[in-house]
């Protein structure tokens, strides 16, 4: 009688252990097994459609950095779940990691250029010859050789980089063009 009681207690204990193991395995790996995976919106905004077809109904819009659950991939599309809603999003507008913020990169980019010996130099401004420009930049000799056979135009490059357009301006410009065209 006593032996049977002990057996029963041990059985329950082992069932609990096994159950715990089983549940843990499922909790950790079930999302992967079922096909769920983390995704983040990597474009400024992204539409979620009812079907994997841009002609289908637009369900909602997500902003950059929004985390969502990927369910499956079909062609160029991911089926995603967000706050209980399910739809389809273009694959190129999502990534497996949160996007890096622009300020994280460009906040330190100036100092990076300085480190690379490519940034401002008074002598560079005085000079007009491309080879002199490169020399005046203080590029290390070896790195200057890197571009020796090529004509480099940093002045034009800086002109390009100086065109100041904010994201809002670009977005407003786009909306205005699309709106005007659609109304015609």
């Amino acid at each position: 009688m006593c032996i049977h009681q002990n057996d029963s207690i041990s059985t329950k204990k082992w069932v609990v252990y096994a159950g715990l193991f089983f549940m843990t395995a499922l909790t950790v790996l079930l999302p992967e097994w079922c096909g769920a995976y983390d995704l983040y919106v990597s474009s400024v905004k992204a539409q979620v459609y009812r079907m994997p077809d841009a002609g289908s109904e637009k369900l909602f819009e997500l902003k950059m950095g929004t985390g969502l659950g990927g369910m499956k991939k079909a062609g160029y599309w991911h089926q995603v779940a967000y706050e209980g809603r399910v739809g389809w999003i273009y694959g190129f507008q999502v990534g497996y990691k949160p996007p890096v913020k622009k300020r994280d990169i460009y906040g330190s980019f100036k100092s990076l250029l300085e480190k690379y010996n490519m940034f401002t130099s008074r002598a560079r401004r005085r000079s007009s010859a491309y080879s002199s420009v490169a020399a005046a930049r203080g590029l290390k000799e070896t790195r200057r050789h890197m571009n020796a056979q090529y004509r480099l135009d940093y002045n034009a490059l800086e002109k390009m980089e100086s065109i100041d357009i904010t994201e809002n301006q670009a977005m407003e410009f786009l909306k205005e063009g699309i709106r005007h065209d659609t109304h015609q």
Binding site: Y17, F22, A25, F92, Q93, I105, Y116, T142, L174
Partner: protein
């Protein structure tokens, strides 16, 4: 106790049956795809520095079309498109090249160029947008960087570039020199692999559709350019397989749905800004 062990073994077996698929095949593929270092700040910075050098070469080779209004217009279109790209963390710069060739270039890190000749052959803003989208896709998909195939210790390509740029040894500098020359060869002489062109077409079209432009504009532009090519032989650019690309674009339009949309072409504003 023997009975208990059997129970346990059965449960254990069932548990592993559930777990195994996740640890192999598709599950493992997903886990590995998450181990992706290209978004790390240091690597993005290296990519920009590398691309900036390459951009200076492109400008040196073709010359800059110093037309402030035209460049601002191209930048407005390009940056609006870039907001719909998969990597808006990059600052994108767009420049018009003073060349009558029909061509466009992308240097890693966000530098995009289009020739005056290409602009003059375009018929609307959607064509400009989708061509710029195609070039943006070369950047977002890191086609040049991948082609260079510089591996870091962890196997990531872009970390390899970061290592070269940060490197001070003679070997690192030499490798950086070779990488820059190879990248120049891809842009100026060899062109991208056909699969990279097709991928850039697809993403450019979907980006245009997402922004609100007619995604078929790329197909229309290439068809238009192809006509020029056969008429006077003037276009001998780096995209010789237009027929294949056009066929693939039709597949994209059919498969992804944008063909059903009645998106904008924005013709009037294009001609107001691009003096044909």
């Amino acid at each position: 106790m023997i009975r208990i062990s059997k129970w346990f073994l059965v449960l254990l077996l069932i548990g592993f049956q559930q777990v195994l698929p996740a640890l192999s095949g598709e599950g493992r593929q997903r886990i590995s795809s998450i181990v992706d270092t290209y978004r790390d700040v240091e690597n993005v910075e290296a990519e920009i520095l590398f691309g900036r050098e390459l951009a200076a070469r492109i400008l040196g080779a073709y010359g800059f079309q110093d037309d402030e209004r035209l460049n601002r217009y191209v930048n407005l279109v390009g940056r609006a498109m870039a907001l719909h790209s998969g990597r808006p963390e990059l600052a994108y710069y767009f420049g018009v090249l003073a060349s009558d060739d029909i061509n466009a270039f992308a240097a890693p890190g966000g530098y995009v160029f289009i020739t005056r000749g290409a602009l003059l052959k375009m018929e609307n803003e959607a064509q400009l947008a989708v061509v710029l989208g195609h070039e943006i896709a070369h950047i977002t998909e890191r086609h040049v960087i991948r082609e260079l195939n510089i591996k870091a210790d962890d196997g990531s390509t872009i970390a390899g570039i970061a290592g070269l740029i940060g490197g001070t040894t003679g070997g690192a500098v030499k490798s950086l020199e070779q990488a820059m020359d190879k990248a120049s060869d891809i842009l100026f002489r060899d062109g991208y692999k056909i699969e990279d062109e097709i991928e850039a077409d697809r993403i450019g079209m979907l980006m245009a559709a997402s922004a609100g432009y007619d995604p078929a504009a790329l197909r229309n532009f290439l068809t238009h350019v192809k006509r020029f090519e056969t008429e006077d032989g003037a276009y001998t650019g780096e995209h010789p397989v237009h027929t294949v690309r056009i066929a693939k674009m039709d597949d994209v339009l059919a498969a992804s749905g944008p063909a059903q949309m009645n998106n904008a072409t924005v013709t009037e504003r294009f001609y107001a800004n691009v003096n044909n």
